[in-house]
Structures are given as C-alpha cells and as structure tokens.
Amino acid sequence: MGNKSSPKTRPPWLLLAPMYAFTILFVALPILYMFLLSFLTRAEVWGVEFQFTLANYKRILEPLYLDTFLESFRLALISTALVALIGYPYGYFMAKMSPAWKKRMLLLIMIPFWTSALIRLYGWIIVFRSNGVLDSLLMGLHITGEPLKLLYTYPAVVVGMVYALLPFMILAVYSSAEKMDWSLVEAARDLGASSRLAFWTVTFKMTLPGLLSGVVLTFIPSMGLFFIADLLGGNKIVLVGSVIQEQLTKGRNQPFAAALSAVLMVLTVLMIRLYRRITGASKLEGLV
C-alpha cells in the first residue's frame, strides 16, 4: 500500500492493456460488426446497402431455415452426448494411470492434430465408402454379407463429429481428474460409501467441472462444424454452418449470413447458460 508512489510501479491497466486491446480488436469488434451487418440490406450486385431492415431475421423464421437450426441442434446434442460418454471414462482412467502410460495415452490423442482435419476426414471417407475399409473388414469377418453403404448417412456424420471433438472432452476431463485429491474417495469409503456411491458422491462431483467445460468445448464447435456434415453426409444433412457459408459465398447475401450467425450465437449462449443452471456448474467451479 505504501509504495504506490515508487517509480517502478506501473499502473495496473498498462499491464492489462494488450489483453483488452486484443479482445476488443479480434472478438468484440467482429461480433459488433456481425450484428450491425445483420440489420442491413443486401445490395443489388455486390456488398450491402446502409438501409435498416428486420427482413433478414424474418426470413430465418421460414420453415426451411428453422428446420436447419433444429437439425444442427439435434446433431450437436447427439455428438456432445456421445463425446461425453466416451471421453469421460477415457480422461478419468488416463488420470489414474502411471506417468509413463499417461504420456502414451496423451500422445495417442495428440498425434491426429499433426495432420490437417480435412485430410483426416478424407480418411473417414475411405473407411465408410461402399466396399471401403470398414465394409471389407466386416465382410471379410463374415459379420455382414453386403456393403453397408455407410458413407453419406447420419451415423457417418455423427462418427465424424465425435472423432473430431473427442480430444477436447478427454483433455478437459483429464485435467480435472488429474488434480483430484483421491484421499477424498478414501474418506467417503471410510465413512461408509460403497465404491459406486463414492464415485457418484465424490469423484463425479470433483470432476464435473472438467466434464462441463468439455461439454461446452464440444457443443459450441459442433454447431459450426459444417464441413464434416458436408463431406460425410453428402447434401442430405444441411446444418446452419453450411447455410451460412452458402449465403456468404454462392448467395452473396452477407446480411442474411450475419443474421443466421447472430441467431446461432445467441441460441448457443442460451443453451450453455441453461445447461449450467441445470447442472449447478457455477457452484462447483473454482473449487477444484
């Protein structure tokens, strides 16, 4: 308190300034620009006219676009649920392994990141296509008699989504399970809890913040990962992301694309808030 006047002390805002500058420049301003854009009118040939309108938002209410939103949410929910079901045990058991095995398991998760996501998706196409890797394997083992024709189906898209998003969930769960104080589980057992009850009343509660941030890290991107649906789902599954991209490129309707993005963003934020309210996440965060 006494050395406020010392010449070496810089005002604290100076230290924080770069962070604020970055956030304003690359996060706040683009979002503001997007929202402004969504209220403007599309120009006849190229660009936008500075004429206020609500028409872009009205257009979203058309069944065609409402269905797209519903479809996107459905896929995001299914993918997130599957990612949580697979990623939670993976991250949890990884945290309980010996240091050497932890490293190996982490490496397994990191290796795919060394290759472009797009190229890895083409790998899935090879796996899924008729008479592809999966079909040959299943037919070779006489489990199936004919090609499954999995490519360009809904399950193929879900597999692609789960594959792409799983690492985020695993790492989020792992980091909270890794920090966990296992003597709490012993305390629960000592106080009369069976190992199953100890898991649900202690371990799960202590790792819930990791699971919750994993869900957020999975759900938000899965709303926008349109290229997975495009590549593995053909044109059967149309997501909001695809529509936005189409409107920006082929449709050259920037204001409408902005309005779609704005609605997507607001809905996602609302979903996350609702979800946090239900699970009581805020109470648990900051404790572990």
């Binding site: 003597s183 012993e186 057992r189 106080l191 069976s194 202690v202 109470k283 404790l287």
Partner: protein, 327 residues
Amino acid sequence: MKKNTILQLKGIRKRFGETTVLSGIDLSIEEGEFITLLGSSGCGKTTTLRIIAGLETPDSGQVILDGADITALEPNKRPVNTVFQNYALFPYMTVADNIGYGLKIRKVPKPDIAAKVEEMLQLVQLEGYGSRMPGQLSGGQRQRVAIARAVVNEPKVLLLDEPLGALDLKLRRQMQLELKRLQKKLGTTFIYITHDQEEAINMSDRIAVMHQGVLEQAGAPNEVYYHPKTSYVANFVGSANILREGNAAYAIRTENVLMNGEPECTREAAVLEKSFAGGQLRILFQLRDGQRITASRYGLDADIREGGACRIGWRPEHAVEVLDDGQ
C-alpha cells in the same frame, strides 16, 4: 479392572514392491484406550492405520475387531472411522453436509441427521458454522469438522492420522488437550498416529513405538520413557544417551547424568560443548573411550566450562539395559 480387547493385530505383514513396510505387527488394543503409534516417517505407522481402516490389505496376518475377523472386509463395512492427515473434507459440501455424510449414506432420517450434526457442531465448538464451506474455515476449524465427521458415526475405533501435523505449535497444544478431553467424554477407542514423542507422551494411555516396520515396544508413556526396551526407543522417546560397554548397551536419560561431585561421578570426561536451548542447559561430554554423553539441567552450573574436564556418573538404577539395535 480388566477391560475388553476391542482390536487385535496378529502378525500383520505388508510389502510394497521390493520394500517391506510391516514385518509382523502384533498389538492388542483395549476398549476405550487412547493408544499412539509413534515413529519417524516411513516406520509403517500410517500403513498400519490404513490396514485397520481397510484402505490397505495386509499380505498376511489378521485384523480382529470386537472378536470378528475383518481383515478382508471393505472399508465401508467396518465400524471404524478415520480423521485424515489433510482432513479430506469434501470441498463442495457445507460443514453440516460433511458431518452428515456418513449418516446420510446409512439412510438415517433427515431430521435425525440435522439433530446429530447440531450436536456434533456443539461438541467440537463450531456452533453456527454448519452452513459454511470448508474453504472458509481455518486449519483448526477444519480439523474439528474432520473429527466431528468421523465421530458422528459412533465408530468402535477412531483412527487419527497425524491430525495435528498441519497446525502451528500453540494450536497444536490446545488441540491436544481438546482431543484428550473429547476422548474421555466419548469413551471411544482412539488410535492416534504421530512422529512427535512429546505429543505421544502428553496424550496417550499407551504408546507403541514403531521402527522400520517393527513394533519395538508398547507400554504406558512413563514405562516407555523410563524403561525403554531398545536403544532406538530410548533415543526416540526423550533422547537418552546410549552407552555401550562390552556386549551390553545402556540407556541413560540426559537429566540423570550427574556432574557435581556426587559419589557416583567416577568417570573422567572432557567438556566438549555447552549450549542453552529451550530453557535447558545441555552439556556434551566425551568419555575416555570416545563415547559421548549429553547431560541436561534446568538452571546453570557455573563450574563447567567448555574445553575443561569433569567427573561424571549416574546412579546404577538410571542406566537401563536395552537391546542394542544400532540407533
């Protein structure tokens, strides 16, 4: 008055990989007793406690509680509770929920839990703290919650794993008295772990000194202090001198070393060092054969000067023959 044996350890052995942690522990504990497992870190006292709690399984040997063999019983099925070293309070539960956890698991009706918890808060002098979170409490308060959380289940034996280790000296002393008082009030058997011999002497009915996985001696504090069986015990409890003569070893407490011309002072000794620490004067002597003897006194002896010589000795009953284990 003969009391019932509540807990019996029979030939408990435990290895972790290549290391033998316990090599055959035998110990009987009476109902209502305050017994302390005393030893330096790595002596196996915590492993012994964890085996009693069921958090560790012995390689061989038996744990008999109240006549029943519980060696293979899961920890949640044992009428034993533990106060953990780091308290291990559930950080996301209130103090009241922490204390009520064991009761809730046993499906005690909610109003009964609330009443019990309130009673416990009173017992550990934390009335009004029920709705706080553990993170909002001081170390001493967390300690009390941990004790209440264990005691509320009315265990037959309460295990305490260095529960005062993280507290400062003043609070430690205060908590020692409180724990002792609590134990008398509840009448529960306490098995207490510490590496602090003073703490062990202050609190226990009986002390079991452990060293390298072996139980060296178990007895009342004054017995262990005045009649140590081994040189390790003599040294560890109250730091006695170990004098080796021929094949025998003798423990001589520092306060029993005479140096003021008493008839027993028959040995020539050089005064190596004179220091004043903790209200006690300590003088380090070297005998002719090279062995060193420390004497301690409250108050100052003017005659003895560093670098000088002196005759020292001890009364024959103060040289207790001990088993020499090289310590």
